[in-house]
Symmetry: C2
Subunit: 152 residues, 2 copies
């Protein structure tokens, strides 16, 4: 029995989830660098969130969601605006404020990145039996559901 | 058969991994806010990396690793330095350059955050049979191993 196996299952899970987070971050950043120069790879997280949002979004809400300072988010928004990936529009609730809206070019960029991620994942799982992938999907669904309303 | 089920297993996996990444980010940011005020929650990712590193680290390497602009990382490093979580030391290879080194207080902060994350995960998985957790751990280990050297 290795040191690893002696730990509680949820401690092992914690380790594997941390490792997965690092691998995913590395993959996402690598792909973002390939998609195009000129945008801080970390900013694609914001862009993907805007792409999934039904409405225009306040910059402050993005900062809150990503645990970033407003200054960081402002800079990334300005960078994406200058690249034509998003634009700022007036807030109908507050004439002085502005909301962020993704452009078609921004959506296309997110789509391209996600397609590449899909191909990357498909390549990585080439040798996996479908049944094992399905089982992992089922367990991850349950994990995501359990993580939604944690009892603390 | 739902729309979800008709997709290829690896597309479903991609969705579940994205959702997991969002849940994990939200959890990490929430815990970081609880641990202490004064530090941009996103900066804890850098701090955790420093805590795991065997050696002192160049700020530029951190920026590269996280897909962040050097200016973002410089600001976060300055913030953590002023909080006593890390310090800058001379680079023995290059007299003009400086490396980043985590302090004991910084390590303690990462440890506290990870302990809280462990408790959070344990709470979320309270109703899971141990066998299911173990199965998920096994599949995640294989996934992490497959993601390490993707064939693209």
């Amino acid at each position: 029995m290795t040191e690893q196996d002696r730990r509680q299952p949820h401690e092992q899970l914690d380790s594997e989830l941390s490792l997965l987070a690092r691998r995913s971050r590395w993959m996402w950043i690598t792909l973002a660098r390939e998609v195009e120069e000129g945008l801080e790879p970390a900013a694609y997280g914001l862009l993907a969130t805007l792409s999934d949002a039904d409405d225009d979004v306040r910059g402050g809400d993005l900062a809150e969601k990503f645990g970033l300072d407003k200054s960081t988010v402002s800079r990334q928004i300005a960078q994406m605006e200058s690249l034509g990936l998003l634009k700022r529009v007036p807030d109908p609730q507050d004439g002085r404020a502005r909301l962020v809206r993704i452009t078609e070019e921004g959506r296309a960029r997110v789509r391209r990145l996600r397609e590449q991620r899909g191909r990357w994942l498909e390549g990585a799982l080439r040798d996996w039996p479908n049944a094992d992938v399905r089982q992992l999907v089922e367990l991850l669904k349950r994990l995501n559901s359990s993580l939604e309303t944690p009892e603390r």
